[in-house]
Symmetry: C2
Subunit: 335 residues, 2 copies
DNA sequence: ATTCCCTTTGTTATCGTTAACTTTCAAACC
DNA sequence: GGTTTGAAAGTTAACGATAACAAAGGGAAT
């Protein structure tokens, strides 16, 4: 591949002139500019970002660490983040930890060796203090999306899950339900905890009892949702509605409830959480809490970039307000 | 960040010795090894892959160009590809073209400037001859997954969509259906065309007529699937079964058919294609053609690496045999 | 004691950029 | 006419690794 020196020779100028015309970084006469551009064109010259990175000590690349890239919720965040990155001239290196702390550690090392300018951390289970240590030690900007406690050196963007849990449950209450179950995520994950708290608050506000038999802590995966709904439906007095902490569990729940002969929503109302794009086309279309996935992702990238560009304000945590989108998996309670 | 020279100084040896012990690339006395390792440890030394890349002219990174990263089928391929890449020490730079040729071009340029060692192209609509030209010109290894005609310089991995279309349709025929519709993908995409061909062949084999009213060319997205099923169901003589060219369209089809009062599968059997992980938990669980997504992705990466490592055999196209997984969205035809 | 060889480690050019520091040259000024 | 000034472009030292080449030193062979 042609290097800058080749272009310089062909154009009959020095390397630095080529660099300057291509980067518009100092005045060059239009005649020289023309020659340089023609030479670059003729040689199909592509500047080497690796050489450039070495010199300027910045790679214009970001790492993204995710527990699972094929879960639709994560996939949509990745998609939105990547899209925004490209718009502002950054590239994204994708890392999938599969909930494995060893892999997580390995990815952090890889990204650090690749000298990414910053890291986006999405809902990983790696112990957050370690992240903080690394962020502080290496001065590697990080922002956490969705999960993880507030921690030093790391900004955080998440949806306001407490509000989400609240409005989801209120919706069910307003429909006349009183036995409302909850299938939650791992309670050591903050958003899951907050959704549960919102659920509890809504019940309390309505003077409804919080029945521990009706809340199940699960894993945010289909399998967990399926297992949880089976448990709930085998109760002596099963719920008439359930608020599920994410869409894929909600879908699985609907699927197995249907298999068991229940009609959704007539016999059982279900509200999910996330508003992944498939929820609109589920059977029935899913009533769910909209997390504003792309806004979330975009804001995370923006925040990270700001940090990379040198902002040194203390860590911020931003919460995005969710809203309920009512579709057909919920309806009025009929005794 | 500490550089190799810092380590060398602290250990009291030369840069090359440090490099050699860290890379195990020539004999170093164990005493010296110890000193070097200790120094590296003490300084939290992380070698710079950008400097290394500049010197060795290889980045150990791959680009992945995809039309849409949040479609579950693509998301699962990306996930599998990324996972395998990491296992063999490569990193993945993700690029999402959103079917936009301008973006595609821009990504190719970005990846080339980043000196990725190779590119994985997934089902993009960018004109394939251009890809071929670039692959040949820049000597940038590429492999195409899923879509795109066979073209010079580029290996291709895909599932055997003709067989998939055949077995899906045979399944419906064996269940006694005779009015079998097809919702296909864009016919300029080879796998879509092949699935349709398989469908036709199965009908012919069973001496069933191929009814043009019953086949609809769509876009492989939910919206398209929804529109297509509406059209089919408004026919004077609607089908009793439909073979849909991918899972998300099949899901959308089931969803709207249900909304219109049809029971799935009693009133309408539907078979999808892909076997995305959600299909198992759809309502009802989807009968679908299993594309062996992770094998596909892994084989693509393997093929690309082989090319990168210098294999110069002529372009290969590998087809992976699909299989049918029968779940609950299909059943016997009852008049 | 000189030479040779082998083991172990050091020196240095290089990869392709960027940018600080020079240089060149012509017009303008006194 | 010589100095100043300023515009335009050139020289070169990094950036951080790798690896080809070189060298030092000790033991064995002559």
């Amino acid at each position: 591949m042609a290097a800058i020196l080749d272009v310089a020779k062909l154009a009959g100028v020095s390397k630095s002139t080529v660099s300057h015309v291509l980067n518009n970084t100092r005045f060059v006469s239009s005649e020289t500019q023309r020659k340089v551009k023609e030479a670059a064109e003729a040689l199909h010259y592509q500047p080497s970002v690796v050489a450039r990175s070495l010199k300027v000590k910045t790679t214009k690349s970001l790492g993204m660490i995710v527990t699972s890239t094929d879960n639709p919720f994560y996939a949509e965040i990745i998609s939105a983040a990547q899209k925004y990155c490209h718009e502002i001239g950054y590239d994204l290196i994708l890392c999938n930890t599969e909930k494995n702390p060893i892999k997580t550690k390995s990815y952090i090392q890889v990204l650090s060796q690749r000298q990414v300018d910053g890291i986006l951390v999405l809902c990983t289970t790696y112990d957050d203090v370690t992240f903080s240590t690394i962020a502080g030690q290496k001065k590697l900007p990080m922002v956490v999306l969705d999960s993880g406690p507030t921690v030093k050196y790391i900004d955080k963007i998440q949806d306001h899950s407490y509000r989400g849990g609240l409005i989801a449950t209120e919706h069910l209450i307003n429909l006349g339900h009183t036995r409302i179950a909850h299938i939650g995520g791992p309670e050591n994950k903050l958003p899951a905890k907050q959704r549960f708290d919102g659920y509890c608050q809504a019940l309390r506000d309505a003077s409804l009892p919080i029945n521990r038999d009706l809340v199940i802590e699960s894993d945010l995966e289909c399998e967990g949702g399926a297992a949880a709904i089976k448990k709930l439906l085998s109760l002596r007095e099963p719920p008439s509605a359930v608020f599920v902490a994410n869409d894929v569990m909600a879908m699985a729940a609907i699927s197995v409830a249907s298999q068991m002969g229940l009609r959704i929503p007539e016999d059982l109302s279900i509200v999910g959480y996330d508003n992944i794009s498939l929820s609109e086309y589920f059977n029935p279309p899913l009533t769910t809490v909209n997390q504003h996935i792309s806004e979330l992702a975009e804001l995370a990238v923006k925040t990270l970039i700001k940090r990379i560009l040198g902002s040194s304000e203390t860590e911020t945590v931003v919460m995005i307000e969710p809203n309920l989108v009512v579709r057909q998996s919920t309806c009025e309670f009929k005794a």
